[in-house]
Amino acid sequence: MTIPTSAELALLRSSPHETNLWLSIYKPPSALACQVNNASAANGDRVIIYDNVTAGSYGLVESGMTMYIGSTLGARDIGRIRVRSADATTITVAENSDVPWADDLYLTIVRFWEIDAVYPRIIQNTGTFETIWYKDYDIEYTDQNDNLGSLICMGSHYAGFLDGDSCNVFYSATGTHNLKEEELTYDWFFQGATVTGSSALTPGSIAYDTAGHYTTRLKVTGGDSGVVDTSYRHISIYDRPENGVNHPVLGWTFISMDGSREQGGYITRVKVRDNISDIVDGALVVIFADDWYGGTKQSIGGNALGRSTIVYVGYILDGSITYNYSTSSIEFELGSPTEIMKLAEGFAVAVNSSTDPSGQAISDDNIPSGWVLVLNMDCERAMYHYLRWHSTVLYTTDFQFLGTDQNIEYFDADRESLYSAIDKLMRGTLQGNLVSDRQGKLWAEISVAATNGASGSFPSSLEIQKQDWMGVPTIDEALVNELSYLELGGIAFDFSAGSTAYLSGAPGTAPAYRGRVERLQGHALTNQAQLNTLCGNLFAYRNAKYPSVMINLVGNYRNLDIAPQELVSLSIESTENPRGIIWNGKPFHITEIRWVYDAREGFMHPSIILHEVTQGSAGTTIAIPALPPSSGEDGGGFDIPPLYIPEFPTISIPSLGGVDIYHNGDFVATVTGINFIDDVCE
């Protein structure tokens, strides 16, 4: 939805562009406030006995909520933990060892779902060599990797104003994808709205008439498997500053908002002058806008349907809050969900593809659990498995895969961050990456570089004309190759036929005469021809003549984002530049965006950095030598020569000649065989 309509394009090219930005910090309401009721509570407890309920009830608690642990009512000074479940007397939380549980600590469960790792657990079956595998401490394998679920898209977190006593929030689950292409049913719950639920794919505009902080839940169920996936979005509704008392943060300053595909998302810096107790590490922040284009009040852009007013969704990054006592202000950094994923480190995970995970787990002695097998695995299924069972990411944000996926036989994630695990899979197998857009949606995309015929494969979001940019565009022209030779290798995996390895090189058999040699292995492929095409295209992209063009746009072009990848075209006449470059609708794609906002002038505009879209010639096949025989008449193989261990040499230790005895300084005699049994003194 970042491609403007003709009407939107006309607005983009009208003037002036006016923007008012607003800052919302989600203040999660309590679902249950109580105290620990266990005199022997200690580190490592998972089931917390409670009493003294001061707010809410256990019936309001849902899996995945955040619980603050404090020494006073509502405090979080002791720690925080993810809640699994609650009943009338106990709260079950995620596996932990760092919370110093103690009697009478204050517990506050809030309606806030955060991004965290979820730990697996492997224990040895008593008296045997068997291991028992669990996810999230105690979830046994039944059929989770046979019956795969859905990657939910339900829009961004939201903040907005009551206008005329109502705030309409648009909801749609468009983009939700079931991994087995099952028909889906939708179950929406709109907390705080005038309509409480819907079963539609696109419920459309839902009205809120009271200021407050709410949560919307969407459950998506696979028609055949019955697998239910759930996701949550937080909704903050405010009175306008001239009305009511529930206002967003008013005394604040936008410092910067920089997005980069290479970094995987946006970092935003903000300064707040109000004394806000809600500014804590991990808090959810939404920046939203009132926009006018040439006097017409309208917002343009944003990938979430009907959420154009949402400029940015991020979280306060841990440790980024600084207090300036001289100016009485607080400054902090906000990060896209990908930045939070970088802070959360998961356990190593390894899964294999299987045509029958449950069956193979029983029949194959080498398979300890169905948890290590994924049905007919491709990259999207591997990512779903990791994010669904090893993180809470899918609770909190949209996730969408774009591009042509490939089968993979193995997926191994190291002990690394959640972001690194997914991004490395995308980069290593598909030449893609994981990027968060401004509104916090995660896009796992195959890069423009790795897409054959990219100029015709990606949508074109804008033809940048002279009235769209200001100042002087900066064009980097690479006159020397970065790469002289690129070798790519990988595996084409067929679920029944198995794996075939391929190698390819570009530009051909002979390398170019400038640049370095690079070898990349481990790609997931279709066949040799696809690898040759990929190799040639990557070689061309890495050696692009125009790897960076920086342009300052003249206004609020929020239709542009770093994800999903879309093309912009540029036209330049030879008389307009000293190099005589002629571009006539030349396609580029956005690699970075830096937003500038001047509140006094109401003016917001981006600088964008573009990379040329290239198309290479197919690389050449490199024949993979057959494995050398290890035995038989054809030779090969080798015998391990007998190891010769040299004789250990005899070491002779010379004996002591004796001890010279002196008395009052006069030598008496040399004696041997003396044992000293007490201190020796004069």
Binding site: S15, P16, E18, K466, D468, M470, G555, E601, H605
Partner: protein
């Protein structure tokens, strides 16, 4: 036709008032200047009473950090000298010159974020 803030007439009307020239942000690819959407209006008093100085300070204190005001100003770009109530304006902190004969000299109030 008087200067007002939030509907209240100023104790003493300013000696001078002027629309501040907008500075262009930059020029576009065709060479046209790009202007921000808002204008600014400057009210100045050569000499004012302490009561008037206090009135300006009060307006700013009330809305200086977060709120907006409605300001009655000479309408921008019309063929007649008429006043118009501009809403959603922001006041910068008033500036004051030296005291003179128990009066406040050289007072200046800048109204920003005026949408014309």
């Amino acid at each position: 036709m008087t200067y007002k803030i939030n509907g209240t007439e100023l104790v003493i009307q300013p000696t001078k008032g002027r629309w501040v020239d907008r500075q262009s942000v930059d020029i576009d690819g065709w060479g046209h200047p790009i202007y921000p959407p808002y204008r600014e209006f400057e009210l100045s008093w050569q000499l004012g009473t302490m009561e008037q100085a206090e009135q300006l300070r009060t307006y700013f204190s009330a809305v200086g950090s977060t709120g907006t005001v409605v300001v009655d100003l000479p309408k921008y770009a019309t063929n007649a000298y008429t006043f118009f109530a501009y809403t959603g304006c922001v006041l910068q902190e008033p500036s004051y010159g030296a005291f003179f004969a128990e009066h406040q000299a050289d007072m200046l109030l800048l109204v920003t974020r005026i949408k014309t």
